[in-house]
């Protein structure tokens, strides 16, 4: 039925006065948008195939290409918008669940942009990070309630093992399979250079990357892909993935097209099969079961690794986090609803979960009310976009943040949100050798190091402006924040005052 046809949302515009018919766009596009039309004697483009990844635009040597949002439109309707109508046509045609990638792009409030940061004036001095030490080193892990002394009256080191990072930023979980080997290598190398950590995600750890073990967090998810003794021993920490901000309540989706030989070996699943991890862990139906998995992993690794429990930010996140803090976990990672994904049902991505800002504030406050905030560390993620977001997250109560979308952007991702297709023209979310070869791991690592280093400089500048010279004194320091344009209720959940107060 022809009703399934939808006019493409975006159009490829070519300036024929510039185009030299070099065919580079054709070679660059794995989606097959560009071709040469003999009859016309010029390059043509199929807009319907375009995912708006900008590869052709970036690579065109004469800047002959651009992508524009189409001005073609359905009859204007505030309720039945073009997107809504299009989705119905697609589902009526396919009978399937709509899939998409990366974080929730809908118009929900972004609280980071409604929070402002303080600075010193007169009554105390700001501190200049170019002239004075400015510390961003921190530890992540559990802490006991009391100090202990040995028989000689000396302090005993009764701290469990901690992660130690030079910057308050860690790379969040992205599995080998969802992203390419080269992308993983870039993340691993950057983490090592920065003195921080990257996270394997649920896809196991490639043999070649065991060398970066000291900077690796290994993940155990509901599918248990690639989990074995050596894998657990390899990581500096183990993360139990209970949920993901982009798709709370469901497991991972990796299409079979991305399960190549190498990925299959690392994941320990057959080549070409879809890797669908179960929605829950089938050995965790309640909090007491989580405790057993936490301690099973601790036992398996002789209590030498901190255990992170990662959850999606959902409505009762504070109570859940409180339960996790009492389950033996050393670190809680909270993933907001704007967190990225390699593939998720669109409806879930766009409608399930809550913003990280509110979830983080609620969790931090709840753990303090219960007097257990010092017993665990908190990593906040899902969607940290800049150094200012990081400063705000830490002042709200996070120990550190996870970034993933921002890291992929540094590697060249243009956020076209079509990772699930496996044809990433930037060599990131694909396993096709011709495409992955486009991402140079060393150049990628350099860009990641640049990004985090630049952010860390900015964090130091903002801390110095507040007269704070250690990131620890910023943690939970909500008096340094003010809301702008927020309701009383929002301010009370965030635990901050309004600007001008």
């Amino acid at each position: 039925m022809s009703g399934d046809f939808l006019y493409p949302d975006y159009e490829i515009i070519r300036d024929f006065s510039r185009c030299t018919v070099c065919h580079d766009c054709e070679r660059q596009c794995a989606n097959g948008c560009h071709s040469y039309n003999e009859k016309l004697g010029r390059m043509v483009a199929d807009n319907a195939k375009c995912v708006v990844c900008h590869r052709c635009v970036s690579m065109c040597p004469v800047s002959a290409l651009k992508i524009v949002k189409t001005d073609h439109t359905f009859k204007q309707n505030a309720n039945w918008t073009g997107d809504v109508i299009g989705d119905i046509y697609r589902q009526a045609g396919s009978g399937g669940v709509l899939l998409s990638s990366m974080g929730n792009p809908q118009k929900y409030p972004i609280y980071w942009d409604k929070i402002l940061i303080n600075a010193s004036q007169v009554t105390n001095p700001s501190i200049d990070p170019l002239r004075e030490p400015m510390e961003t080193k921190l530890f992540l892990g559990g802490r006991p309630d009391r100090v202990e002394y040995d028989e000689k009256g000396q302090l005993k080191d009764n701290l469990p093992v901690h992660l130690s990072t030079q910057v308050p930023v860690l790379f969040s979980a992205m599995s080998y399979g969802s992203i390419s080997r080269n992308a993983h290598e870039a993340l691993a190398k950057a983490a090592a250079a920065l003195g921080t950590y990257y996270n394997t995600g649920e896809g196991g750890l490639h043999e070649d990357f065991y060398q970066y073990a000291d900077n690796t967090i290994v993940q155990v998810a509901s599918g248990r892909f690639g989990v074995h003794k050596r894998y657990l021993d390899a990581g500096a920490a183990i993360e139990i993935k209970m949920g993901q901000g982009a798709k709370p309540g469901i497991g991972g989706h990796l299409p079979g097209s991305k399960i190549t030989e190498d990925v299959s070996r690392t994941r320990m699943i057959p080549e070409g099969t879809d890797a669908i991890s179960p929605a829950p862990h089938h050995d965790i139906y309640s909090i007491e079961d989580l405790r057993q998995l936490v301690y099973s992993l601790k036992e398996a690794t002789s209590y030498k690794k901190p255990i992170i429990v990662k959850i999606a930010a959902v409505h009762n996140v504070a109570a859940i986090a409180s339960g996790i803090a009492r389950s033996g976990a050393d670190i809680i990672a909270i993933d907001g609803f704007r967190g990225g994904t390699g593939a998720a049902p669109s409806r879930i991505r766009d409608n399930v979960g809550i913003p990280i800002e509110l979830a983080l504030a609620a969790v931090d406050e709840r753990l303090r009310q219960e007097g257990i905030r010092n017993n665990v560390s908190i990593i906040a993620g899902g969607s940290i976009r800049s150094s200012a977001d990081i400063v705000k997250a830490i002042a709200l109560g996070a120990d550190a943040v996870y970034i993933a979308t921002a890291a992929l952007l540094a590697l060249g991702c243009h956020l076209c949100r079509a990772c699930q297709l496996g044809r990433c023209n930037w060599g990131i979310a694909t396993q096709r050798p011709d495409l992955t070869a486009r991402l140079d791991p060393d150049a990628g690592a350099r860009r990641l190091v640049n990004l985090v280093t630049a952010w860390n400089h900015e964090i130091k500048e903002m801390m110095g402006g507040m007269g704070i010279n250690s990131i620890e004194a910023l943690r939970g320091n909500r008096l340094m924040l003010r809301g702008i344009g927020l309701t009383e209720k929002e301010l009370s959940i965030l635990g901050i005052k309004h600007a001008g107060e």
């Binding site: 010193s120 009554t123 105390n124 001095p125 501190i127 004075e132 030490p133 510390e135 080193k137 921190l138 530890f139 802490r143 006991p144 009391r146 100090v147 002394y149 302090l155 080191d157 701290l159 901690h162 303090r368 007097g371 257990i372 905030r373 010092n374 507040m466 007269g467 704070i468 010279n469 250690s470 620890e472 004194a473 910023l474 943690r475 939970g476 320091n477 909500r478 008096l479 340094m480």
Partner: protein, 363 residues
Amino acid sequence: MLKEGEVRIPAGCAISGIFSRAGKPISGGEIVSSISTMHDRSNGLGGGFAAYGIYPEYPEHFAFHLFYDSDAAKRACEAELKTFFTVADEGPIPTRKVPGVGNGPIIWRYFAAPRPEKMEALKMDEQEYTVRFVLRINRDIGGAYIFSSGKNMGVFKAVGFPEDVGEFYKLESYRGYSWTAHGRYPTNTPGWWGGAHPFALGQYTIVHNGEISSYDANRRFIEMFGYHCSLLTDTEVITYVFDYLNRVQGLSLEDIALVIAAPFWEEIDCMPEEQKRKLYYLRNMFASLLITGPFSIILGFDKGIMALNDRLKLRSMVAGEKDDRLYIASEECAIRVLAPQLDKFYAAQGGVPIIARLEEGTN
């Protein structure tokens, strides 16, 4: 206008301290002359003193100093006090009329001992019992404020310049082995007497000059352990931090300095292995009690005194020694006025505590 405790008020200040290692009595008149030399560092919106060894007649009783806004508040508080403590003596704290000190609250003093059966029932030692009591009264009974609660020591404070406050309380009539003083320069204040410094809890008193940038991080951490910051001042939170680390966790004062004014990691990484391990432990364990921003504090405690500057040394503080005495002050003039010729004179180093205790056998 919001009252103190409902809004956070930054303040600059002058501080001074005198301590006799030999435990010799020092007249309150001396500390008043010391702090008065720094008149321009205060603005008349708060002055106060802490004195140790001043109540030898009641060495084993907790000396509670209270401000009451009304007789009703006094009655309500006394009912609580007498439920939990046996009061050996009570009465108004002697004062004289001074032009620089306006009308204030009712000022009352009690010498009291915990009721053993109550203490037993709550399974607390007398320090914990008294601290919990003080925190509860200050939080729950409107119009009543316990501003001093240690043994054989006392705090005297009011709205006014410190020299006027000293005269008001007739401090020249008290003798103690240790005195600290504070002149306040708040940027705005409703002029509440309880907001003047020193701030005290149990045996600890703090006078502080500075504005800490870590305030809310420290406050939200310490409030997990039963403290309630009702004044929103730096001095209050610093006092609670000392109480928590010293009395509750058992850290030595030297180790507390390593927590709140910790050396920088770049210094720590150059230290001998054992010291390095200790600092890694302390900075990690009590990361949220690191205090940043400018501060100079003098902590008074039973049989001792401690001075500490922030790790960047963003506030002036100097010390002088003469015979058995240690002098500490924001400015040199406040020391020289009492002891023009000193055996030793030096600036407090950032993050390095100056600690003096009574010599063995004294007191």
